[in-house]
């Protein structure tokens, strides 16, 4: 009996990855608020300060967190108390759980132990991601219904319609990638993206599935309820959408789940189409032989983080660029454009794979 490497690694992963996910949310809120301000020629939040230091407005996020934690836990009298209270939890947990199977670096070799760098290794891992992501809509419907108020209910209904419609396209768009890689295991998919095309272009999934990538991205925007598809919210007609009746930490949990869903979706895009933790042009074996396994892992996590950060930034960037879709336009785009295109993508991919393989 030596040092229990695997249980320790397991616990470390279970603790560290969700904590990093959740603590990165205030940071992304900061990026969103300051970034949107600079896009719109404003200064953005820069007032909160400690001893005159504002840290580029980062303290606003601390202030927001303190405010959320110390607010009264208020339940409207007409609300269905039990469901009202668990709805934010359902939304947050489903957003967090989806991240569990995404590998953040190649397997780490500690002596003879091989430690996979994702929390869970599920057979057909990416199907699990979609299962968890679709649970997110449950939290929203629950919130809208349990609040016992008409605006949250309308917002939740719209969300349900939107998310169910785009989930079909999301799954179908990813199916093309699954066909091309021939596996559902995210780690295998990332490993398959290690090579280069003619030694120059990294052989990432986007080269194999360019249309699949675009469809997946568009459907993902709708799944995360982000602009241009942020119909669940809708200040003009729905007050605030499904979380109208929520305040304090319960509201903050919805907010966090939105951002975590964004991060999870960004990691999914990176895993499927942008080589996951792959550092371009350098294989894991070569990196380990040069700088050792631990530093190689850090570099790979860094590469993964940079790619994910870009896509989360893309979410924010698009939000402050595009106006929102009307509900019928959203449905038409989802069912009459994205869905047929993703079906065609699957058909073509399957045909080509049958010819090649």
């Amino acid at each position: 009996m030596g040092f229990p490497v695997e249980p320790v690694a397991m616990v470390a992963k279970v603790v560290i990855i969700p904590v990093i996910l959740m603590t990165s949310v205030p940071l992304w809120v900061w990026v969103e608020r300051r970034g949107s301000a600079f896009i719109q020629d404003r200064l953005g939040p820069n007032r909160a300060s400690i001893c005159g230091f504002t840290f580029f407005g980062l303290l606003h996020m601390v202030a927001d967190a303190i405010k959320a934690f110390t607010k009264e836990s208020f339940v409207p009298s007409q609300a269905h108390r039990f469901y009202y209270l668990i709805a934010p939890g359902v939304a947050l947990v489903s957003a967090l759980m989806a991240f569990a199977v995404i590998p953040i670096s190649d397997d780490l070799m500690v002596g003879t132990h091989r430690i996979p760098m994702s929390i869970a290794q599920v057979d057909g891992g990416l199907v699990y991601v979609f299962a968890m992501a679709s649970l997110g809509v449950l939290g929203i419907i629950l919130a809208g219904w349990a609040a016992g108020s008409k605006y949250p209910l309308l917002g939740a209904l719209r969300t349900a319609g939107q998310m169910l419609s785009y989930e079909v396209s999301l799954g179908l768009a990813a199916l093309g990638a699954f066909l091309a890689f021939g596996t559902l295991d995210p780690n295998e998919i990332v490993r398959a993206q290690g090579g280069t095309l003619a030694g120059v272009v990294p052989l990432w999934g986007i080269l194999v599935q360019p249309l699949g990538f675009i469809l997946f991205l568009v459907a993902g925007f709708a799944e995360c309820n982000r602009l241009p598809f942020d119909l669940p919210e809708g200040e003009s007609e729905l007050v605030a959408g499904y979380h109208t009746e929520y305040s304090g930490m319960k509201f903050a949990m919805f907010y966090m789940s939105e951002y975590i869903a964004m991060i999870t979706f960004a990691s999914l895009v990176v895993t499927l189409f942008f080589g996951g933790w792959q550092v371009p042009w350098v294989s894991t074996i070569r990196m380990v032989s040069v700088i050792g396994p631990l530093s190689a892992m850090v570099v790979q996590i860094g590469a993964f983080a940079v790619k994910v950060a870009f896509f989360v930034w893309l979410f924010i960037w698009v939000r402050w660029t595009l106006p929102r879709f009307r509900y019928d336009q959203l449905m038409r785009l989802g069912w009459m454009v994205i869905l047929p295109l993703s079906l065609a993508n699957i058909a073509v991919t399957a045909f080509v794979m049958a010819l090649v393989g």
């Binding site: 600079f38 896009i39 719109q40 020629d41 404003r42 675009i214 960037w317 698009v318 595009l322």
Partner: protein
């Protein structure tokens, strides 16, 4: 719509380029941002701004006002309360023993300044951030009105059209007051 506009993607990319251009430009040129960080940075005000009132003094420190009631009559908000008394100086006849302006009633129209035959009341103090804790202190009495100074850089006497050394809007200055 041609096919390029129809598939959205090209136009979306152009839109993204526009927003990124603004972001990068603003990151690199923070000082050119149109935002004015208000309490620290104040916008230059016109010398013609109708701000809080003041009563102009004679050389001996007493108000120029002769309690003719023209301002109180002209005032559409009826915020001026004057009580006249007899002057010790025979050449003046009347002086205000009481001259109150209720700033909560005042609509800052400037008609009192227009009406005054003696140039005794002006709104050139430049005080526009009038914040107080209770209603009573919004009523300015004779002494407060006399003590309030004119906007810095203005001179006593009739208001000239332009004054040297005063930053006003549109005189080659940007909205931060920088030349």
């Amino acid at each position: 719509m041609d096919w390029k506009a129809r598939i959205y993607l090209w136009e979306i990319c152009r839109g993204l380029a526009t927003t990124m251009k603004h972001l990068v430009h603003n990151l690199l040129h923070r000082r050119e941002m149109p935002t004015i960080s208000y309490p620290e940075e104040k916008r230059p005000i016109s010398i013609r701004l109708r701000a809080q009132h003041r009563l102009l003094p004679r050389p001996d420190g007493k108000p120029r006002c002769v309690a003719c009631f023209l301002c109180a009559t002209a005032c559409p908000a009826q915020c001026i309360t004057i009580e006249a008394g007899e002057a010790t100086d025979r050449s003046i006849e009347k002086v205000p023993t009481r001259f109150d302006i209720d700033l909560l009633r005042c609509v800052f129209c400037g008609l009192c300044v227009e009406a005054c035959p003696c140039d005794a009341i002006r709104m050139d103090t430049g005080i526009y951030d009038i914040c107080k804790q209770d209603r009573a202190s919004f009523v300015l009495d004779r002494e407060r009105l006399l003590k309030t100074a004119a906007m810095p850089n203005t001179i006593d006497g009739p208001l000239p059209k332009t004054l040297p050394g005063i930053k006003t809007m549109g005189g080659g200055f940007d909205r931060h007051g920088r030349q």
